[in-house]
């Protein structure tokens, strides 16, 4: 601040000027700061990181899923060289032949369980903290939709290895949906593309698993995190300080504030 070398100022300008340029046109820097540099209660708990952990698990699923999609073939026809279904053969190739394929597939397979487990722990934490209450009801509702979409992702992904477990578990899953009153049989027939699982089912579920549902869940995650950012983090139930109290005015919210150590807001222009 006061004692700043000329060189320091120069470096600072070199770093910040492009950011200023971008921010002036897009508000991207201010937006990022709004998203990341937030006030949180003094006594936040470790359990409040479960949401971020779930998001991390989802990102892992996305990356490994994209890579698996490069090698997986969703076809139930028989591979003439192996005599097994093409889908199953491609899974075998990923697991046994392709370098590090076992790792990526294993990460995706176990990561799915990790994602669901973290999701439920996160939900339990939100419930026990009462963090679903006013004004965060919509965050909870989008969270419930996220849970449903996440479970649908697990359900649709389970069929893709096209082995006996996958096949019969999906038969049972589809027929479970079929027992819903009124529209159940219609839903089941839509999911199976006909009265029973057939040649089209695998491709349909692959499309659901890697196009429809990821699109839906990403949109929901965006809304969910926007709401979390907008409404702030809730105090734990044991917090000594009252929620919603007046806080000290934050540092001026210019694009640069807080980006450089020492808080040189409005430094060199």
């Amino acid at each position: 601040m006061a004692k700043k070398s000329k060189r320091g100022t120069l470096v600072e300008t070199a770093v910040l000027a492009p950011l200023d340029w971008v921010d002036e046109r897009t508000a991207a820097v201010r937006g990022t700061k709004w998203f990341l540099f937030r006030n949180v209660p003094r006594d936040v708990a470790w359990s409040q990181t479960l949401g971020s952990a779930t998001l991390t698990a989802f990102i892992v699923q996305t990356i490994t899923g994209v890579i698996l999609a490069m090698y997986y073939e969703p076809s139930s026809s028989i591979n003439p060289t192996t005599g097994k279904p093409v889908a199953y053969s491609s899974i075998e190739a990923i697991t046994n032949d392709l370098t590090l394929g076992w790792l990526v597939r294993g990460t995706h397979r176990w990561g799915a369980s990790v994602f669901i487990i973290l999701l439920f722990l996160h939900m339990g934490r939100v419930f026990l903290f009462g963090a679903y209450k006013y004004p965060r009801e919509l965050t909870w509702i989008t969270g419930v939709l996220l849970m449903v979409t996440g479970m649908l992702l697990g359900f649709t992904g389970y069929l893709l290895p096209w082995d006996q477990t996958a096949y019969w578990a999906t038969v049972v899953g589809i027929n479970l949906n079929g027992t819903a009153p009124f529209l159940g049989p219609w839903l089941a027939q839509f999911l199976a593309t006909g009265p029973e699982i057939g040649a089209e089912t695998l491709a349909k579920w692959y499309s659901l698993h890697m196009l429809v549902l990821p699109g839906a869940i990403m949109g929901l995650i965006f809304v969910h995190i926007y709401l979390v950012t907008r409404l702030g983090v809730v105090s734990p139930p044991w917090a000594a300080e009252r929620a919603g109290r007046e806080r000290a005015e934050a540092a001026p919210a210019g694009a640069r504030a807080g980006l450089v150590r020492g808080g040189t807001s409005g430094g060199s222009k």
Binding site: S76, S77, I78, P85, K133, Y134, P135, W168, V171, V172, I174, N175, L176, G178, T179, P181, F182, G184, P185, W186, A188, Q189, F190, A192, T193, G194, P195, E196, I197, G198, A199, E200, R242, A243, G244
Partner: protein, 315 residues
């Protein structure tokens, strides 16, 4: 705690009714398993306490509803005072920008519908229309000994390959007189479809399979089995030799297949659902229904939950 804090502006007062409501719901769910009377009591409790709870919660809101003056008085006043000439009121106008806004939205919606509807139709309709069906030829009648089951495994749609492999349990019941065709002697078969009517797992015959006598007739695999009952490995459903449920979660009797005899060969037709079978073998009385998804009731009061099933519409 300050009453003006952000965290508790809508907090309703404490109420005991939710407890009664919860007990009612629990009672209702328990009654679904135990008896209709308990379920009815639970339903009444849930409705009564639910209404009380809703009344309690909305008391504040309802309290704020302002008293509405009777309309008749206002009418009377208006009648007493001579009405102002209505021409003074500004005429409702429909501006050019409002028109453009509405037409943009309308045309946009129309274009959107024209583009979206066929796509949605393509997504949904192939599951219900033009479903390929083929009669399966299970081979000559001589392959089916009288009074015992054969496991017949065949491709329902040879073009689709192994994914269409289906299994039926076929029992020849001997020759019976068919009153429909002037009392002529005709062969009778019991043909049970192997998919469990609980949730569609492959039902297995409870008995030794004679693998040595296995036959392959034009791609149809036939294996004799000594079984008087069938069990499902997934959730423990158990059926007797006529396909009636004996234990476990299935909700109806095993599905059956229509059959016909063509040139001395047994040909499978459509599948159909069975409510119950009384009698055995050729004399069995089968309450027959259109095929429906496993797990759905076809008879009794629960069938009301599935008023229209796809197989009734698309065949």
């Amino acid at each position: 705690m300050s009453e003006t804090g952000h965290d508790n502006p809508h907090a309703p007062g404490p109420s005991l009714w939710p407890i009664g409501f919860a007990i009612g719901v629990a009672c209702l769910l328990l009654g679904l398993v135990l008896s209709w009377i308990i379920a009815a009591i639970g339903a009444v409790l849930a409705v009564v306490f639910g209404l009380l709870w809703a009344r309690d919660v909305t008391r504040e809101v309802r309290g704020e509803v302002p008293e509405i003056e009777p309309e008749s008085r206002a009418m009377a006043d208006e009648a007493a005072v001579p009405a102002e000439p209505t021409a003074a009121a500004p005429l409702p106008t429909y501006t050019r920008s409002r028109f453009l806004e509405a037409s943009t939205l309308g045309i946009g919606a129309a274009i959107g519908a024209v583009v979206t509807l066929p796509v949605l139709g393509f997504m949904v309709l192939p599951s219900f229309t033009n479903l390929e069906e083929q009669d399966a030829d299970l081979g000559p009648l001589e392959n089916f000994p009288k009074g015992r089951y054969m496991i017949a495994s065949y491709l329902a749609l040879p073009k689709a390959g192994e994914v269409s492999r289906r299994t039926v349990f076929v029992r020849y019941n001997g020759l019976v007189e068919n009153p429909a065709s002037q009392g002529r002697q005709e062969p009778s078969f019991t043909i049970l479809y192997s998919r469990c009517v609980h949730l569609g797992c492959p039902v297995q015959p409870n008995g030794p399979i004679d693998e040595a006598a296995k036959k392959d007739v034009n791609g149809v695999e036939l294996r004799p089995v000594l079984a008087q009952s069938f069990g499902c490995p997934c959730h423990g459903g158990l059926y007797d030799a006529e396909g009636n449920r004996r234990a476990g979660p299935p909700v109806r009797s095993m599905d059956r297949a229509e059959y016909s005899i063509k040139n001395g060969r047994l040909v499978l037709g459509q599948l159909y659902a069975v409510g119950n079978v009384s009698g055995t073998g050729a004399n069995a009385m089968i309450s027959r229904y259109p095929w429906s998804t496993p797990g759905t009731h076809v008879d009794g009061i629960e069938a009301w939950l599935y008023p229209i099933v796809p197989s009734q519409v698309t065949g």
